[in-house]
Structure formats: structure tokens, C-alpha cells
Symmetry: C2
Subunit: 230 residues, 2 copies
DNA sequence: CTGCCCAGATTGTCAGACAATATTGTAGGA
DNA sequence: TCCTACAATATTGTCTGACAATCTGGGCAG
């Protein structure tokens, strides 16, 4: 849980902008800022104690990552995914996460990798899980990250951040019911088991099945949860 | 060859930073700046006639896209892909481009899409192609973009930019010989034919085969073309 | 030839300024 | 009452100038 080497407010001259971007990104994941919300420069520079220049650099980073949108003369807002974007992202995620799952399964022969993956996914086996949305949100994020992490491909991990799972979850979290959550978690278990068993094809299939189900669930949600696209 | 709507130096207040980022990105693709080269702020602000703040915003964008790297206190350099990064990117590209090819093939039923794709890929049928590297570079870029474009997924198109085909090409261009180029182009023809025929499986297979061959070719190249990774 | 130190070059960050645009509130007219 | 035009205010876009921190290259002592 350590912050690596991030802040350390002494004179580590270098790139504070990245730190700011990470903080904002975390705040968005944390639903401190919700999709569609405006991020006003004056407020943020004040609350973060930084200059406008630095904040704007952070904005550009986040914008390039697709976490926020910068609208000329209107500033930055937290991105709100449209139905179409969600569906495109699912299509892509299906391929990339299946790839990650295969790679991860193939790497289970390396004990340290297997141990790390097992540790990161231990929580889905907790019998006490009762399908609470807030728990699920963080569990889900952690689970999908664990797969990409176990895959051992840095580029794949980077791309994963562009798939905006947390934005999506933030948008639909209000519609998550216990049934949906519990069945999602049981699918997670299937994926994790296949990966841990080193079953490449099984991991691929389980991932795709999970994402297909999630995609179908999205389709059942009402329009007002999604943004309009350009 | 028009610049879309980019400059127009009158008072279109809005985001000049994006325009700068695009210009730099184009300059990099154009090998005006090569992988590993430093991008010095003072030079660029002078030659582009902009302030440091704006340039730094553009840098952050490019850095988030992975086109440049910002090293604390040492500035921005054009990214130089390591062997490992190249191999990871190929692995990912294989999945995403195969997906794009399938989607594109499935959309050939729509005549405007088919026409646009045919037009964008007409050059690979030119008998006069003699395997010149510089021609190939732009043809290759254009071809792969045409597939993603025909796929009709904006998110997929965005991700494609993160696959850094142009950076890779820039790094290895010196080692391209006529044989390699001509056989690559003939593979392009196979892919294009399958897509135009609406053959989803064929397009998938041809894409993967092409990328597998390209990946193998990379492996034969000497170390000094690649960067070291962290 | 090697290691150390300094001067110059370059980046990191801030503060302040002003033009351009967006938003809001208000008064007048249908 | 509801809508419209306009002025007042808030916010963004971009520039300039400044200074501290860090890196780089070169000369000097050993």
C-alpha cells in the first residue's frame, strides 16, 4: 500500500504534474468527482496548492488518457462515456483481457507470479461477500488489474488504463444489484481458477464469457446513465 | 495534404496545444526528429513561436500517448522502443488489428465504407512499386490506418495510435530491403482482398499471418536499433 | 589519464497579466 | 408570465518574466 516514491515533499524537483494527474485520477475513481462534472482551475489550484501551469499539464495528461475531456473555452470535465463508447470499449477489452488472461495463465509456472496473482485475488473467495456495490467496485477493479499485472506485459498494462473500467463503473454503479454482483464475482472465480491452473484456453474462454455477460448487462441499462456522443 | 482546420491564426482562441502536439507528432513521423533525440524547449518555443507553457502542455499530451518520454530535469526525448516493448506491442497489435480487420470485413456491406477502404488501399496494387523504403513507410502507415478506419470504432482507432507503428518504422527503416518490402505489400494485398470480400475469418487470419511475419522479421534485426528498457 | 569543481545551459514551477469566450443575472418588450 | 437582448461576472487561453534546482561540459589539480 505504499505510494512507491511519489510525493516526498522535499526537493525532488522533478515532475510534480504526474503526481497531480494521479491524484485527480484517483479522486475520479473514488467518485469524488463524477462523470460530467466540471473541474474548475481556480478551485483545484487553490485546493492542491499549485500553479495553473502545473494543473494544466496534468489536465493534458488526463485528457490524452481519456479520463477527462477538455472543451475549448469551457474547461475540463470528467469524461462521461456514451453507449457507443462503452460498447466499443467492451469489444476491445474482450480481446485484450483474453490476451492478458492467456499470458497470465502461461506464466503461472513461475511461482512468484502465481503467488502474487493468488494474493491479489484472494478476496473473491471470501464467503462473507454480500454483494455490496462499494466493495464490489474496488474488488472488480483490483481483479482486472491483477490479470493484466500477471500477464507481465507493461504495454498491455498501460493500454488497460485506457479501457476506462473505473469510469464505466462509476457511471453504472447505482444500478448494481446484489444478484448481478454475486454472479460477477463467481465468474471472477472461474477466471482466476483457470489462470491459476495454467489453463490457457480455459482462461481465454472464461474471460470472454465474463465480458460478454457484462456487456449484455450494460445493454439493459437505461439511457440516462450514458453520455451522448459527438 | 491540407492541414484540416488546424492553424488559421485568427482568433480561434481554443486549444492551440493540441495543434502543437499534432505538429510535433507529424514531425516525428516524418523523421524530422528521430527516436532518442532531445526536444529542447527553448528551440521549439522559438521555432514554433509559442510560450513554454503551451509547449509543455503539448509535451504532456505526447508523453501520455507514449510518443515522447519526459525525463525529470532532462527534458523530452523522442521515444525509442526497446526490443521488449516492440514485442509486447506486436502481441497487442495482433489482437487489435485482427479485431479491426474482422469488423472492417463485416462492414463492407455498406457501400460507402467499402468505397473508402478501396480508395485508401488502392496504392498497394500499383505495379510500379519497386520497394523503396520511403514509399513503403507511408504506404504501410496508410494501409494499417485504413483498416482501423474501416472498422468504424473510434476507440479502436484511438488505441491504434498507441501502438506506435510509426515510431517502430522510424527505428528500423534503415534495415528495410526491397524483398522484405515487396513481400509485406503482397501480404497487404491478401488482407485487403479478404476485407473487401467481406471474408471475416480470412481477414482475421491474413492479418495475424502478416503481423507474425513482421514480428519474426524484427527478431532478426540487430540490438543497436533498439533502446534499453528501464 | 582520472577525479573534482565551477560556470553555463536547461528544466521545474510560480505569479501576474490581459484578451477572448462563456455564463449568469437583469431589465425591457411581447 | 415568458422570452430576449445586453451588461456584469466568471473562467479559460496564452504570454512574459522570474528564480530555484538540476544537469552538462570543460578545465584544473593530482
Amino acid at each position: 500500500m505504499n505510494k512507491h516514491f511519489s510525493q516526498s515533499k522535499q526537493h525532488m524537483h522533478g515532475s510534480k504534474a504526474i503526481g497531480i494527474a494521479d491524484r485527480l485520477s484517483a479522486a475520479i475513481q473514488n467518485s469524488l468527482y463524477v462523470p460530467g462534472q466540471r473541474l474548475v482551475e481556480a478551485e483545484l489550484t487553490a485546493s492542491l496548492g499549485i500553479s495553473r501551469g502545473l494543473l494544466r499539464e496534468a489536465f493534458r495528461s488526463l485528457s490524452a488518457e481519456g479520463v477527462i475531456e477538455i472543451i475549448p473555452n469551457r474547461g475540463a470535465i470528467v469524461r462521461r462515456l456514451s453507449r457507443r463508447e462503452v460498447s466499443e470499449l467492451f469489444e476491445i477489452r474482450m480481446e485484450l483481457e483474453a490476451l492478458a488472461a492467456r499470458l497470465a495463465a502461461a506464466r503461472m509456472a513461475q511461482k512468484p507470479v502465481a503467488d502474487a496473482f493468488a494474493a491479489a485475488t484472494i478476496s473473491i473467495r471470501d464467503r462473507r461477500l454480500r454483494g455490496s456495490p462499494s466493495e464490489y467496485l474496488s474488488e472488480n477493479q483490483q481483479f482486472h488489474m491483477a490479470i493484466f499485472s500477471a500477464a507481465g506485459s507493461r504495454e498491455l498494462q498501460n493500454l488497460n488504463r485506457r479501457l476506462h473500467l473505473s469510469l464505466l463503473m462509476s457511471q453504472i454503479s447505482s444500478r448494481l444489484d446484489a444478484d448481478t454482483i454475486l454472479s460477477s464475482i463467481s465468474e471472477h472465480r472461474l477466471i482466476a481458477d483457470a489462470i491459476l491452473a495454467g489453463d490457457v484456453n480455459g482462461a481465454d474462454g472464461a474471460s470472454r464469457a465474463h465480458l460478454a455477460r457484462a456487456r449484455d448487462f450494460m445493454q439493459t441499462l437505461p439511457d440516462d446513465l450514458f453520455g451522448r456522443d459527438a
